[in-house]
Amino acid sequence: MIEQVDLTTLETELKSVAETRKPDGAEAEPWSVGGVAPALVCTPSDPESLGEALAACDRAGAAVVPWGGGTQQGLGNPPERYDVALVTTKLDRLIEHEPGDMTVTAQAGMSLSELQSTLRAHGQWLPLDPPVLPGATLGGALATDVSGPRRLKEGGLRDLVIGTRAANVDGRVSRAGGKVVKNVTGYDLNKLHVGSLGTLGILTEVSFKVAPLPPADRTWYCAFEDPKSAGLALSKLLWLPVSFAALDLVNAATAAELGLSLEGAPWALLARATGFGPAVERQLSEFRTGTEARQGADTVTLAEQQAEGLWSGYLEKAAKRRWGEDRLTCRMALYSAEQGAVAAAVAGVGEKPHIWGHGTGALFWSAAVEAAGRAEAVARLREAAHQAGGRLIVENRGKGGTGLDVWGPEEPSYEYMRAIKRQFDPRGTLNPGRFVDGI
């Protein structure tokens, strides 16, 4: 039983700790999630007041959607209840960057692109190239666990985050991890936050490992008739002792947008190598022989600028399909060697889908599908993923796709996830119902 939320009192309380607005009608629209709009939008300017605001909501029984850049709110189920958007974008300070330590700490509302430009000035970067829309924040990136093609060599957020501070529903800000690159001091709550969709607490600060910008960076591609051979070439290339920076399998629709000429072939394998010059050249020759052995076409080498444009265009388009446009987009978590076969299987689902996958085993399928046909498309895609031992998440439901099964069937481990949620957020204040299994 959920009691009626006393919004008037809550509004007064929130106003006493942070800037709070009561948007109406069209003004509330940008803050809506899955068709539900909030009554209040609260934008605290420091972690402590964010904590206080969260606690006030919790006491009032009001449901909160933690709001970073608002660029990936499409992920997950629509919230069961939604009263307050708690916005983190004023928590946007760089806390610490000691280039010699190759670590950085920033507030969670800072945008990813701002962090990257700060680091770039020192010849470093946060080695993460997720397809995100402009304005995506660090906290939002963590909560949704986004990563891109370069996860293959650099690892994902679970590997890069070394410390976090988070506001808990009791209003207090607690920390886990630290600012050092190696750490076994207490439970690794950082891992729980990554990919938790803001259901356990609201991140206020994050520390990362960073990396030097690589001295050499090259890109090639090769067309394939059969995605299975491309997949085989890919998994064989993963056997090199230095990982490729990226090995992406894309279908012709995806390649065409990037201006790659496949001469009629339906698939291509894109490769990127970073590091020391000689090793990068060696990877090129390995790519050439590896793809030739699997009936790939001739390897095409891209000039530096062309390559840069290719990857940024690729990420931009992927970001729009995953988080922006009105279409259906799914991510499959697969074993790397199964990618080619699954790509072949899902190519027949929907009209002219875009299909692309990272060497890590993340395979994406995206197409414009009528609302009425989406559930069936999802079921077919999920079936293909499960048959290959993988899983599928609906990332972009498209307009009107609210009834879709976003996370898939229940797993035995979800019982323990629910137990964790009950401890961290007993009243179900944070993003209720949006995560797996109704969490």
Binding site: G155, R158, K179, D188, S196, G277
Partner: protein, 475 residues
């Protein structure tokens, strides 16, 4: 002596040969690699996950605490049964269950010895990256418990970066799987939360790990310095220049002398510090990288530089590092290994402060450590036969921890908190920080029977560890 009813029930689960309960046998299990000890009331050696689950259920029914143990090489008392109870030793569950060459994954049982995994896949040109110096004796389950590192984890990451899934007997006795061979599955990353939880959230019975292609070639350098500062500056600059070697290890003078007295690795005994640096991967470009490191070391006044010419010389250079802990035994009856991490740029001042602790407490301290990631291992030399010296040693260790905290560091980089440092947690984290961490414990182990007395300070601990009532069981 007749086994008690409880012991008989353990015997019913795992068979007579797999239960130890007489005093003589139990004594063999009262310690690990650290300096603390505590006696279990029974030791069981299960042979399957189902047996582990039955044992945990039995403990739940009888309200008896239990502690998982792998090789018992832990250095923070993680597998010491502080509150007594049942010690669940997993060494009989030591099979490689699956090697998935196509997907570069292996599935293993927790009792498998770390090195045996790499040996099992070496023929396929693969290995398992985390390589604790104890890898001939420690188990993958123990590595998961402590989120272990090793010399070669600087570039490639520690246990948590290589473990992708675990099958766990949860404290409620149920067998459940978290994660798996594929990355980024839906739901909370419980694999990530489990790694490094020191056996306090359940017992891993199956572990899915990443396998990595063996490097094609390697260059190993030994750089000798007259000051620790020059060695530290070299570490920072190598990494700052964008070269991330597979390993950068440092040994200070006392460590060098100990090593030379036993291993004869060819380290100079009069130097202030040496760095052992290794770059590996594709053959192409390795010489350039080695040269770049060499130039940096020279610019920081390295007094000599040696690049191993062949595998034999490389082995020799590494034998000094790998045998360093043991070598300390040559110059001291006992030693206490301290594990702390500081930001890399703080190394010079922290090492100086540690030397000061040695002077203040009148104890010799040698340093052998993973310099690349700022992970210190001061070895405090002591003689337990001298009254009060062990206590003084532990105090010195605590003081070193405080130095790490003040430098922006943490209490452990790879050995865990265990029982050793539980009382120091409050100096790094606030009560509230720990309360939040303990929500995870409360969610997964509400009864608190899984390895009690670890990681977090126990209220009133200074008097005596509160023992769970074991009465009525009649051990």
């Amino acid at each position: 002596m007749q086994p008690s009813r409880f012991v008989q029930e353990l015997i019913d689960i795992v068979g007579e040969r797999n239960v130890l309960w007489d005093d003589y046998d139990l004594r063999l299990y009262e310690y690990d690699g650290s300096v603390d000890r505590a006696l279990p009331q029974a030791v069981v050696l299960p042979e399957s996950a189902e047996q582990v689950a039955e044992i945990v259920k039995l403990c739940n029914r009888a309200s008896v605490p239990y502690t998982a143990r792998g090789g018992g090489t832990g250095l923070s008392g993680g597998s010491i049964p502080v509150a007594g109870g049942v010690l669940i030793t997993l060494v009989k569950m030591n099979r490689v269950l699956e090697v998935d060459l196509e997907n570069l994954r292996a599935v293993v049982e927790p009792g498998l010895v770390n090195l045996q995994l790499s040996e099992a896949v070496a023929g396929n040109g693969l290995y398992y990256v985390p390589d604790p110096s104890s890898q001939k004796a420690c188990t993958i389950g123990g590595n998961v418990g402590e989120n272990s590192g090793g010399p070669h984890t600087l570039l490639y990451g520690v246990t948590t970066n290589h473990v992708l899934g675990v099958e766990v007997v949860m404290p409620d006795g149920e067998l459940v799987e978290f994660g798996g061979k594929a990355l980024d599955l839906p739901g909370y990353d419980l694999t990530g939360a489990f790694v490094g939880s020191e056996g306090t959230l359940g017992i891993a019975t199956k572990i899915t790990v990443r396998l990595v292609p063996l490097p094609e070639d390697v260059r190993t350098l030994l750089a000798v310095f007259n000051t620790v500062d020059d060695a530290s500056a070299t570490v920072s600059e190598v990494i700052g220049k964008g070269i991330i070697p597979a390993a950068i290890e440092m040994l200070d003078q006392m460590a060098l002398q100990a090593v030379e007295a036993s291993v004869h690795a060819g380290y100079p005994e009069d130097a202030a510090a040496v760095l052992l640096i290794e770059v590996d991967g594709l053959r192409d470009g390795l010489d350039e990288q080695a040269q770049a490191i060499r130039d940096i070391a020279e610019a920081h006044n390295a007094r000599s530089l040696r690049i191993a010419k062949d595998a034999k010389e490389r082995e020799l250079l590494w034998s000094g590092r790998k045998g360093a802990f043991g070598a300390i035994g040559r110059i001291s009856p006992e030693y206490y290994v301290v594990d702390g991490v500081v930001p890399r740029t703080k190394l010079p001042e922290v090492l100086e402060a540690i030397a000061e602790v040695g002077r203040q407490y009148d104890l010799r301290i040698a340093n052998v450590f993973h310099a690349g990631d700022g992970n210190l291992h001061p070895l405090v030399l002591f003689d337990g036969a001298i009254p009060g010296e062990l206590e003084r040693t532990k105090e010195a260790g605590a003081e070193i921890m405080r130095i790490c905290i003040r430098a922006g560091g943490v209490l452990s980089g790879e050995h865990g908190i265990g029982m050793e440092k539980a009382e120091l947690m409050g100096e790094l984290f606030s009560d509230h920080d720990m309360e939040v961490m303990l929500k995870l414990k409360a969610a997964l182990d509400p009864e608190g029977l899984a390895n009690p007395g670890k990681i977090f300070p126990t209220p009133g601990r200074c008097v005596e560890i509160p023992r769970r009532p074991l009465a009525g069981i009649g051990w």
